[in-house]
Amino acid sequence: MPIQTHTLETTQQANGSTHNVLRMYDQDGKELIATFYATVDPSSLVAGHIALADAHLAEQEFNEIVSVE
């Protein structure tokens, strides 16, 4: 189940970076989190985390299918 929605919570840090908590949700509402610091616009990094989450979810789904069979 690929990621359907996400939220990004960003707080500015004293050194100019941002701390970011990205919550990603698949269509079943399952949540995956990415936590990262960024010295660039954090929204530019979201797509990469979602791609990683999609791959992780696909792997999990595959493993579940294999284990059932």
């Binding site: 707080t11 004293a14 701390h19 990415a34 936590t35 610091y37 985390h49």
Partner: protein, 451 residues
């Protein structure tokens, strides 16, 4: 007890008794006896023609067989010896179950899309195995899908494998070159660096899911800054990992898309950062996470430098917590020097909440104090809602928006701590941790115990 000599190009009788008569292959030393010392010339360079198991069978964790690169002229420890693997499919370097210690040697896999790794999983291991590398280089040039550092056994019923990297570097060439934990494997990495092409889905990860795989890792003073935005941890996690005093990338990713296989698994970062920061502290587990936040803090809060800069703990919960199974933060420590009644508490803030504060079934503190006369037995006290009780707002703080910096909207300011005073019976530790039982929320806490 003897010195055993290894030197490529030695032209003597090649029996290992001197530099002249040195073995030309390190593999000839695997039968070294207890007390022997293997000396490898710093000019030594060999290419292995097959997968090789470095099993110094007479080595034990108490007395591993030492294999030391030395300068032939001075006899002093040196670096530069190299043991490479040739173009061999599945030409893995494996270590164990005998214990051994290596100094100054570079181990290098073949540069190709081929499966060659550094494996610490040789079975049967009926006793603990200890493999130590000091001032070594693990040069992973192979890029195949099984080209990784593999720590621990692939089967059950084996004994522990401990791998120590001391001032040892790991260089990588592919996203496949992760450090993979199997069963009963431990990695202690003290000093060194990881450079090259990094894994994109977790530098350190488990061998699989649904099995008793565990990360068991302590990393101190290691430069991981080359990882850039590749997550340090991703995918499935169980076990414990602690990183201390490490250099990370400026935009490092601590975790991304982690599935916690173990409710007690945790990842803790002490003073690890990509900048000139010396206060970072991060804790991650199944239920939530905590990081130091320097953008949101209370004006009389905890400080991280001599100019009075402040910080808070930013606690964020996952979807996996509840009143009965909350996220529990690391301890906040203080030393109490009174035996009179005190009412300790922590200042907290709920950001952008239209003024709402958390309730006592959502966020509470648990304090531990020396409440037992004559023994160090601690006593817990908290302000959690009573079981089967009705939730109530936590106590409003006298702090206001003018006392906090960096908040957004209209926050709720509150404090957590025992509802009534406590009287320590002895001087000693007074500690607190923050418990958050509400899923997917954020709370800011000033990490200093006030009384």
């Amino acid at each position: 007890m003897a010195n055993i000599y290894v030197k490529s190009g030695a032209t003597g009788s090649n029996n290992g008794t001197s530099w002249t008569d040195a073995y030309t292959s390190i593999a000839s030393t695997f039968t070294a006896a207890a007390g022997d010392v293997v000396l490898v010339a710093d000019t030594h360079s060999q290419t292995l023609a097959a997968a090789t198991t470095f099993n110094y069978s007479n080595g034990t964790p108490a007395a591993p067989i030492p294999v030391i690169c030395v300068n032939e002229g001075t006899g002093l420890p040196s670096t530069g010896a190299k043991v490479a693997m040739g173009n061999v499919a599945n030409g893995h370097f494996s270590w164990g179950p005998g214990s051994s210690y290596f100094y100054g040697i570079k181990f290098e896999t073949f540069s190709a899309f081929i499966n060659q790794g550094f494996y610490f999983n040789v079975q049967p291991a009926t006793n603990p195995t200890l493999i130590i590398f000091e001032n070594c280089i693990m040069d992973m040039k192979a890029t195949g899908s099984a080209s990784n550092i593999s720590v621990g056994h692939t089967a059950n019923d084996e004994d522990f494998v401990t791998v120590v990297f001391k001032d040892t570097d790991y260089t990588t060439s592919s996203a496949n070159n992760a450090v993979i934990f199997q069963r009963l494997g431990r990695l202690l990495w003290d000093g060194g660096s990881w450079t090259g092409t990094f894994p994109t889905s977790g530098l350190f990860k488990l061998a699989g899911t649904g099995q008793p795989f565990q990360i068991n890792m302590n990393i101190n003073n290691v430069d991981l800054s080359g990882a850039s935005t590749n997550p340090i941890f991703s995918s499935n996690i169980s076990g414990q990992a602690v990183l201390r005093n490490c250099k990370l990338a400026a935009s490092y990713v601590a975790i991304s898309s982690v599935t916690w296989e173990d409710t007690e698994a945790s990842l803790t970062f002490y003073n690890c950062s990509g900048g000139d920061n010396h206060y970072a502290f991060e804790h991650y587990n199944y239920s939530g996470q905590m990081v130091v936040d320097t953008g949101i803090y209370v004006s009389d809060g905890a400080e991280y430098n001599t100019t009075g800069s402040k910080y808070s703990w930013k606690i964020t919960t996952t979807a996996n917590c509840s009143f009965y199974a909350p996220y529990v933060s690391p301890w906040i420590y203080s030393h109490n020097e009174t035996t009179t009644a005190i009412t300790p508490y922590l200042e907290c803030m709920r950001d952008n909440s239209s003024g709402a504060v958390f309730q006592d079934d959502e966020v509470w503190a648990e304090f531990s104090y020396q409440g037992t006369t004559g023994f160090p037995l601690g006593v817990f006290v908290n302000d959690r809602m009573a079981l089967l009780g009705s939730p109530a707002n936590q106590t409003a703080s006298s702090k206001t928006a003018s006392d906090w910096t960096g908040e957004t909207g209209t926050p709720g300011f509150f404090k957590i701590g025992p509802a009534s005073s406590i009287t320590p019976a002895e001087i000693g530790p007074l500690s607190a941790h923050v418990c958050v039982g509400k899923p997917s929320v954020t709370v800011y806490v000033d990490p200093q115990i006030r009384t």
